[in-house]
């Protein structure tokens, strides 16, 4: 296959993946709607109320057999579609790498970074689906991935191009792959933290009005389980991020620019993200900061992470990390 053919394949695969993700989103929304159906035709199931299952999912209460059967079917279908979209997504990544001459990892610019990062989100979701019972997360994950892919295709798309010289290093592979994995993982953790806050609020409201949580929110794990899930995902992402920005990043920077840490805006924000997440981990161990505040901190961390990736490139012209523009030789005034 020629490089151009690979590139076309990659573009088509992204479009297809986007479409399938979108279908998955529709299915998940239908699932959601089915859960929210009015109470008529439901029976009270006492058994369901007895004790949550071990992943902390609160008891799915009072759903008629037929309706719960439909919900389960839609949920499974949505998951299958997501997994399928993920596979096509992977094809797009491979195509991108094969289209470059010489072949390389598909992490040369923001478009490529974004499609790789979203792929990691999907991959992790699919991989952890069973183990952590992530079914409830479906609409959120797929919604996020579809939106981000759309942004990537519309605003960030760039032709396949060879890497600039400074990017041409084995450290690129290690550094960027770990940054991408961490970014995808933090994003997944962020989704759990968002749900923590949403559910905490809903629970507060429900207690005030004396009602029970209903609909989709009732399927979301209870607060301690959400908190634990968020923690575990973040606890995986944090060392990976540490490895990416505090080990491989500096090693690479040292080889390319002679300084392992230069307080370049990209570095500064990577550091800020790191410190905020360290704060999150502390918060979970500090009375008065557990739960809600910790979740807020996790989201601040996520905001700094994505800002660093997308925002800083537009915001700051001094960053040496800008992907698109080759750094023009910098020469300070020289005394004669």
């Amino acid at each position: 296959m020629t490089n151009a053919a690979w590139e076309t394949l990659s573009n088509q695969a992204i479009a297809t993946a986007g479409l399938v993700y979108f279908l998955a989103l529709l299915v998940h929304l239908a699932e959601w709607a089915a859960v929210r159906q009015p109470r008529e035709g439901r029976e009270l199931q006492v058994a369901a109320a007895a004790g949550g299952s071990r992943d902390g999912r609160s008891a799915t209460s009072s759903t008629s057999e037929a309706s719960s059967g439909r919900v389960a079917f839609l949920g499974r279908l949505g998951f299958l579609l997501t997994a399928l979209a993920g596979a096509v997504h992977l094809v797009a990544l491979v195509g991108r790498g094969m289209a470059a001459d010489p072949n390389r990892v598909p992490w040369g610019n923001m478009y490529e970074f974004t499609i790789s990062g979203t792929f990691v989100v999907t991959l992790l979701y699919v991989a952890l689906y069973k183990r952590f019972g992530l079914g409830w997360m479906g609409p959120l994950v797929v919604g996020f991935v579809v939106t981000t892919l759309m942004v990537a295709v519309i605003w960030l798309h760039d032709e396949v191009a060879p890497l600039t010289e400074a990017l041409n290093s084995p450290w690129l592979i290690i550094h960027v792959v770990s940054a991408i994995i961490a970014t995808g993982t933090f994003t997944l953790g962020g989704i759990a933290s968002v749900m923590y806050l949403v559910r905490a609020r809903a629970e507060r409201r429900a207690t005030e009005s004396g009602a029970e949580l209903t609909g989709w929110l009732a399927r979301v794990p209870n607060l301690p389980a959400l908190d634990r899930l968020a923690y575990r995902v973040h606890a995986f992402a944090f060392p990976v991020w540490t490895f990416a920005v505090l080990i491989t990043g500096p090693i690479w920077a040292h080889e390319a620019w002679s300084r392992y840490w230069n307080w370049d805006p990209k570095e500064v924000w990577a550091f800020i993200t790191w410190v905020v997440y360290a704060g999150y981990l502390h918060a979970r161990a500090t009375a008065g900061w557990k739960g809600r505040n910790a979740a807020v901190l996790a989201l601040i961390g996520l905001a700094t992470l994505w800002f660093n990736f997308i925002g800083i490139n537009y915001f700051s012209s001094t960053s040496q990390h800008s992907y698109a523009v080759e750094r023009v030789v910098e020469v300070r005034s020289v005394e004669s």
Binding site: R54, E159, V160, A161, P162, E165, A166, S169, W171, R228, R232, A235, F236, F238, P239, T242, L246, I247, P250, I251, W252, H254, E255, A256, W257, S258, R259, Y260, W261, N262, W263, D264, P265, V268, W269, I272, V275, V276, A278, G279, L281, A283, T286, W289, L297, T304, I312, S316, S317, T318, E326, V328, V329, E330, V331, R332, S333, V334, E335, S336
Partner: protein, 531 residues
Amino acid sequence: MTTATERRPGELTARELTRWSWRQLTSMRTALVLLLLLALAAVPGSVIPQEGVDSLAVTRWKDEHPKLTPVYERLDLFSVYDSPWFSAIYLLLVISLVGCIVPRLFVYFRAFRAEPPAAPRHLTRMPVHATFRTEQSPAEALAHARQVLGRRHRLRRTTGGDDSVAAERGHLREAGNLLFHLSVLIVLAGFAVGGLWGYQGGVILVQGSTFSNNLTQYDDFKPGGLFTTRQLDDFRFSVDDFRVEWLREGPRAGQARGFEADLSYRRGTRNPDDYTLRVNHPLEIDGTEVFLIGHGYAPVVTVRDGEGDVAYTGPTPFLPQDASFLSFGVVKAAAAKPGQIGLEGLFYPTFEMIDGDPVTVFGDDLQPTLSMLAYTGDLGLDSGASQSVYVLDKSEATLVTGEDDKPFRVDLQPGDTVDLPDGLGSVTFERVEPWIRVQISQTPGKEVALGGVVLALIGLCASLFVRPRRVWVRALASDGTDGDVPTGDGEDTMNGSGGTLVEVAVLDRSGNGETDQVLADLLEQLQEAPK
């Protein structure tokens, strides 16, 4: 003695106050707040240009914001990361860290040698517990439990007559946590060493020229606070050849890649060596490293004065203005008579006229062209004040004009010579040489910092993934009178009663474990028939 008693109340308060402050400072909450403050304090430096990162941008910013500049300067906003307020935050954090870690080290040391605590009296009151019945005798059940738990736990020594097993695992979590926090200090130390004793210097070297490592040879030099010139290693190197590969097609056509400079270098009086310097592949000479960080063109220009003497000749580095390698430069012929001659203008690597505009269509020097204006008179070179070689002081000089009173253009391609009007002299463009910009630096402490981060990462992983927990198993001879006696045909056990009631409780000490799952797995193992 009496005076001591008199002072005592005040003294106590002071001590109390100190203690109270110390406890506050080393509390988890303070650490958390300081961490968030540190994150916040790092923000301005990413928005405002920093002296240490891009001093050119700082100068530009100051020119554009004359009103804000003094305020920003007072707040150290152009060097945030060296500023007293930024340092104050991380120093407080370090103190808090030490204050937090040291006592924990002692606690850890004691805990490490201590035995797992004995089983609480009522295991069934623990949050995560279970009971089951077995036909084994209590002693058998306990022996089995010891065997099962002993594989992955530390067990409390038994004293005769114990009715329970106490087990504990996961000490490494705390060890990892301590290692992580201590390593943060190591990283800071390595970083500080680099800041104090390191240096970075930059120099532009035209192909064919030689650099020897002493201060006068650098174009710019940034030493650390405690740097001394004795640190400059004794070496020389010359740039024998420089090659660039230009992309001629594809979406990045015009981009340069594959930069390579052939160096021959020599340390002290040792034999010379060769090295091919490339981006991402620095040359290391003892503790000093040489990096290739940029390149450009140096037109070789010869200026003859009105008397026909060569007033200036040599390669003159022009500075690239953007990625097209359109470059700006200055030639100063101070020795020219009757008047000094200065030239200022642009170098086009691949010149072309497009719609009447001169442009360079490629970065490679396929059609090298110089287009400059000439000045004569006093170029300010004799005043003694230092002057940049890239700036022409035109305040006392006059622009050379042609017969039509328009500025006289010196437009040249290699081999061309132009006579300046009024018998001022002539300018010849001989050829083009490439130049490279190298960064020469020492970064002491970088191995320390790297080692520190690696240790920190190891500690972090232990701290995040090891799950510390305690498990207790108690076996009680059951008299079979419980309401819920399960088995019917187990009556032939040794004590002839209804078997043994086994209670199991699990306590997760990190608060993050899946204790229910742990308990379920454990029950399964305990209930398995011993082999």
